[in-house]
């Protein structure tokens, strides 16, 4: 049913954007003034050490500062990232960037990913219900309460939860992704421990992002309710449930799907504030660590990861949209 040409065109577009993003990720750091070597030297000098030409050479070798032409560097870069070789991180001793990211990514994917999906599903369903029962008490309660909670900045709600539920009443752990001393493994007891640690950050993320989905969906619902095909469906005596779900919500969902795709793409970047408040061992915390240590290889790799995952999700959402909305297939 769905046109192969639609997929082919979207696929080609995706590859082109991916190449552009990867190339920009190569060019931009090289356009920035200064270099990692200068930054390290400045730090050493500020620390009172004497900086000689030999120190500079030593650091250049240690960091692997390239001396080849830009073109060769670019080709090396492409080869390296295709093999997922991003070099060594300065922040953690004897650890490769790829390894550090690989260790942090699952935590973020599970925590932020699950929270995003839950917020989207719950928020959209609430929005459908509030929109369908517009101007009733249920609608007011849903709309007002979700707006109220979304007015909290995530870090502030996180701190409140930590203070009351963690510090005062000892219901939840204060920090970390699991109890220190445990070895991360796929056993039921460890997973239980990890879930227990993730409840507060997850609640923070869900509660603060819920309102966006609720209000967006509710507004789409109300707009769609005014469409002639809904009126006509009523004139034809369709069942209320059919009208609400297949005629109103089905069409109202389309703009929300785009938003959901963008939110999913942003998942891998983690939520820096929430992760750092809860001491959560995810990508957000890793990015903070990299910035603190002027860890260029780690930062560059994380930025690349964020860009690429965004592009991939946008591509997937485009394809999904083609399935959901027949009108875009030919466009």
């Amino acid at each position: 049913m769905i046109g192969l040409r639609y997929f082919a065109r979207k696929g080609a577009m995706f590859l082109l954007t991916l190449w552009a993003a990867v190339t920009l990720n190569f060019i931009i750091p090289r356009l920035m003034p200064g270099s990692p070597v200068q930054a390290t030297l400045a730090r050493l000098a500020a620390g009172g050490q004497t900086v000689t030409e030999a120190t500079k050479r030593a650091i250049e070798i240690q960091l692997g500062l390239p001396h080849s032409s830009l073109w060769t560097q670019y080709l090396d870069y492409l080869v390296n990232i295709s093999r997922l070789r991003f070099g060594m991180t300065y922040s953690i001793t004897d650890e490769s960037v790829a390894h550090a990211i690989l260790a942090a990514a699952p935590w973020t994917l599970v925590l932020v990913g699950t929270s995003t999906v839950i917020a989207f599903v719950v928020g959209t369903l609430l929005g459908v219900y509030a929109g369908w029962r517009r101007q009733t008490r249920v609608d007011s309660v849903v709309t007002v309460s979700s707006t109220f909670f979304s007015a909290f900045p995530p870090f502030f709600l996180g701190l409140l939860l930590l203070y009351f539920l963690g510090f005062k009443y000892h219901m939840f752990p204060l920090t970390g992704g699991y109890t220190p001393g445990l070895v991360p493994q796929l056993t039921l007891s460890f997973l239980g421990n990890a879930v227990y640690h993730s409840i507060l950050p997850a609640v923070t993320l869900v509660v603060t992002s819920l309102a966006g989905w609720v209000l967006g969906m509710r507004n789409n619902m109300i707009n769609t309710l005014g469409e002639d095909y809904v009126l006509f469906a009523e004139a034809n005596g369709l069942r209320n449930r059919t009208i609400a779900l297949l005629y109103v919500a089905r069409n109202a969902l389309l703009p929300n799907v785009t938003g959901f795709g963008l939110a999913l793409g942003a998942v891998i970047g983690g939520s820096v504030l929430v992760e750092s408040i809860f001491g959560y061992p995810g990508i957000g915390s890793l990015l903070l660590l990299a910035v603190d240590n002027r860890d260029y290889p780690l930062m560059q790799a994380i930025f690349l990861l964020i860009t690429v995952s965004m592009l991939v999700t946008i591509f997937l959402v485009d394809l999904l949209y083609g399935l959901l909305d027949p009108r875009v297939r030919e466009a």
Partner: protein, 337 residues
């Protein structure tokens, strides 16, 4: 047999607090089984609102303030929810003005026909995919569409095809009454003519009662058995379409409407508009609402509201000068000539 009888229908729009607009005022009419009736009038005269009221399709801020609407002897004005929904199968259907937008953009015609059939399963009916397909082909055939349309999405059809598909959906209900609310307004003249031809044939072949709402006098007189002229929420004239065309006594507003159309074969075309504009419908009317625009209005017209009164040949006119007595009829004929 009378299929639908409306008595004293008043529809009020209440857009804001304290604001009330009487869009339909004290309208009574009855539709015979198999009759094709037209409702004409300019924009805002309440014709579409009346059509929506008769089929229980009024949406807030509009509501039926008072009146009885009996369909096959059952008062449908008080029906809500499931009770109303069940009346729609083999009952009354509506075809909307914007038929182009009356179809769900993300569902195929097949699915939309299926939705209608599934919603009104009679005892023992089971609509499998194949059964929906067969019925769909049959319905599309009735409106002159190819069976390939069944698998299409609305955006893949032209405006005329979409309006036909919408009529097919309404026919799926096997209705005894179909209200066509300006079914051809959004289409170009050629498509309009073909569609009206199809509606006429369909009505003749299937024998349902039809109410055609239009601002176009010529379309209505061409298609219908009887025409109702509305002005400012009231019926001002109700006559057989043949009598309307042949001349005779008319409400001054009907005559003014006639003068807005020209014979396409005439050498000299003189079109006249009707000076002035319709009255404010938020005010009560204690006089003839048309008097300020009427060329023959006299003293009585400014104080007393004329009632719809029978004239010869089964028609009715609401006018002090053209209705009721023989004497005023004579005057009227001279005035109209």
């Amino acid at each position: 047999m009378i299929l639908l009888e409306a008595k004293g229908v008043n529809v009020v729009y209440q857009p804001g607090r304290g604001e009330r607009i009487w869009a339909v005022r004290d309208v009574s009419l009855s539709l015979e089984e198999g009759e094709f009736v037209g409702v004409v009038g300019e924009s805002g005269c309440g014709k579409s609102t009346l059509g929506f009221a008769l089929t229980q399709m009024l949406q807030p801020p509009a509501f039926l303030e008072s009146g009885v609407i009996e369909f096959r002897g059952v008062d449908i004005a008080g029906l809500r929810g499931e009770g109303l929904r069940h009346q729609r199968r083999r009952g009354f259907a509506v075809v909307l003005q914007s038929g182009m937008n009356a179809l769900n953009p993300v569902r195929t015609i097949h699915h939309q026909i299926g939705d209608v059939l599934q919603a009104h399963k009679l005892g023992g009916e089971h609509w499998s995919k194949d059964a929906v397909h067969d019925r769909g082909v049959e319905l599309l055939g009735m409106v002159g569409l190819d069976s390939s349309v069944l698998g299409r999405f609305p955006h893949e059809l032209s405006g005329g095809m979409r309006q036909r598909a919408a009529i097919a959906l309404a026919l799926a209900l096997e209705p005894e009454l179909i209200v066509f609310d300006e079914p051809t307004t959004a289409l170009d003249v050629i498509v309009q003519a073909a569609l009206m031809e199809m509606i006429k044939e369909l009505q003749r072949a299937r024998g349902f009662t039809a109410l055609l709402i239009s601002h176009d006098m010529s379309v209505v007189l061409d298609a219908t058995d009887r025409a109702i002229v509305m002005y400012a929420g009231r019926i001002v004239e109700d006559q057989g379409s043949m009598q309307m065309v042949q001349g005779g006594r008319h409400h001054p507003y009907t005559e003014a409407l006639f003068r807005c159309y020209a014979d396409p074969r005439a050498d000299d075309v003189v079109l006249q508009d009707i000076p002035g504009s319709p009255p404010d419908l938020s005010l009560p009317d204690s006089s003839c609402a048309f008097a300020p625009r009427c060329t023959i209005a006299e003293g009585r017209c400014w104080h007393e509201r004329p009632l719809l009164a029978e004239v010869g040949s089964g028609g009715a006119i609401a006018c002090h000068l053209r209705g009721s007595s023989e004497e005023s009829a004579m005057e009227g004929r001279q005035g109209g000539a």
